[in-house]
């Protein structure tokens, strides 16, 4: 039978842990609401943007803009979106497992998030940049990242750009997703936007080059922004769920330990009583 004092000490430490995880759960829940709102607010906009792009892509030829041009892929760039902090369940593990399946020799990585960066360093993969972002990033902050990727693509250093991030499905589910972004293809934007059969060519004002020059990079920047917001919502949801189950586990543990403690105490009392009675009987 375990020592009473040991059990008491363990109960106390488990209770402390439960208190901490409970607090973290509350914080994550508050942040999650904010992050989810931010991610959802942009959805109508990105849907319209996707639709515009799909119909645009059908009307202009591949050679119309460098961002539309698909080249044979020799080097590809992957933007790896992970979290800075741990304690968010299997979120990062799932993302990094996906990252590990990518071909090492032909893939270069750009990382946002410390977990991803340390994984890349540990496994000796090629990382060309690491960006730090706050909890709720602004469009300008993520634009720095997307601009970097865009320049790499335009300079010909890489032939494709994709984003690997935890897609927010709902609070309980986040799915690692690899989205090809550049060159911009109609498949990339499809899925959400309905297909519009226009037939006629688009008229551009002032001219096609000017409009494409503005729309296409903007589309890329905004999509990356939206994906990073999505990743943030995923992170907070995963953390909240992980912390909730940690708190529940700790509570279960406390219950078991308390039971054991009471049993041990009861046993001690019984032994003591027995001793007294035996002593009395011996004296009588």
């Amino acid at each position: 039978m375990a020592n009473l004092r040991d059990i008491r000490r363990r109960i106390k430490s488990v209770k402390n842990t439960a208190q901490i995880t409970k607090a973290m759960q509350m914080v994550a829940a508050a942040k999650m609401r904010k992050a989810q709102q931010a991610a959802l607010a942009g959805h109508p906009y990105s849907q319209v943007l996707d639709r515009v792009l799909v119909s645009l892509r059908d009307h202009v030829s591949e050679g119309a803009h460098p961002l539309l041009e698909s080249r044979p892929v020799k080097k590809s760039l992957v933007l790896l979106v992970t979290t800075d902090k741990g304690l968010c369940g299997a979120l990062n593990t799932n993302i990094l497992r996906e990252a590990a399946t990518l071909d090492q020799a032909s893939t270069v990585f750009v990382s946002s998030g410390k977990k991803g960066a340390s994984f890349l360093a540990r496994t000796g993969r090629k990382m060309i940049a690491d960006f730090a972002l706050p909890d709720s990033p602004t469009f300008l902050q993520t634009k720095a990242i997307s601009k970097f990727c865009l320049e790499k693509f335009l300079s010909g250093e890489v032939d494709s750009v994709s984003v690997l991030y935890p897609k927010f499905v709902n609070t309980l589910t986040q799915k690692p997703l690899l989205v090809p972004m550049l060159p911009i293809s109609s498949e990339a934007a499809q899925g959400k936007g309905e297909h519009v059969e226009g037939g006629a060519q688009y008229l551009f004002e002032p001219d096609a080059d000017g409009v494409l020059d503005a729309v296409l990079p903007y589309y890329f920047h905004f999509s990356v922004f939206q994906m990073i917001l999505d990743a943030r919502a995923s992170e907070q949801s995963a953390r909240m769920v992980a912390m909730k189950s940690a708190t529940d586990n700790a509570k279960g543990l406390v219950k078991d330990l308390t039971l054991e403690y009471n049993k041990a105490r009861q046993a001690a009392i019984t032994t003591e009583l027995l001793e007294i009675t035996t002593a009395q009987m011996a004296l009588a």
Binding site: V48, V52, F139, V196, F204
Partner: protein, 137 residues
């Protein structure tokens, strides 16, 4: 009568969604009025004023920021970084924003992105003021 299916969206919200008889947008080449059955067109817009004639003939004014307009025969999508209806514009706040932006442009040596941001917000505030003030005359 043919109607346009108009959508005005910003990254924060859907500012307008519904049918319209006519839309006037501040295009890169000047004001651009769009009626139903317009040919497919894609253009940039500048900070300014969007005028919507709704199905019932009501006129609606919105201050918008930079963005794009996609026109299909039966549909117009306006994508912009700001869209505020006339009634929601706070004239005082807009005036202050103009003053602040002008001061920043004058006093501080801003470079690159920062300069573009301040100039952008100045134009947006001016657009708000323009929309608000015209309704009074």
């Amino acid at each position: 009568m043919a109607l346009l299916n108009l959508e005005i969206v910003t990254p924060e919200k859907r500012a307008y969604s519904g049918s319209a008889r006519m839309v006037v947008v501040p295009g890169a080449e000047g004001e651009l009025g769009i009626l139903p059955d317009h040919m497919p067109l894609m253009t940039q817009i500048l900070p300014g004023e969007v005028q919507v004639t709704t199905e019932s003939g009501e006129e609606l004014f919105l201050a918008v920021g930079e963005g794009f307009v996609e026109v299909c025969p039966d549909r117009v999508s306006v994508l912009t970084d700001m869209a505020i209806e006339e009634v929601e514009i706070d004239e005082k706040a807009a005036e202050e924003a103009v003053a602040r932006a002008e001061r920043e442009l004058r006093d501080q040596a801003l470079g690159g992105e920062e300069l573009a941001t301040v100039q952008g917000s100045l134009l947006k505030s001016l657009a708000q003021l323009k929309v608000k003030r015209r309704s009074r005359h």
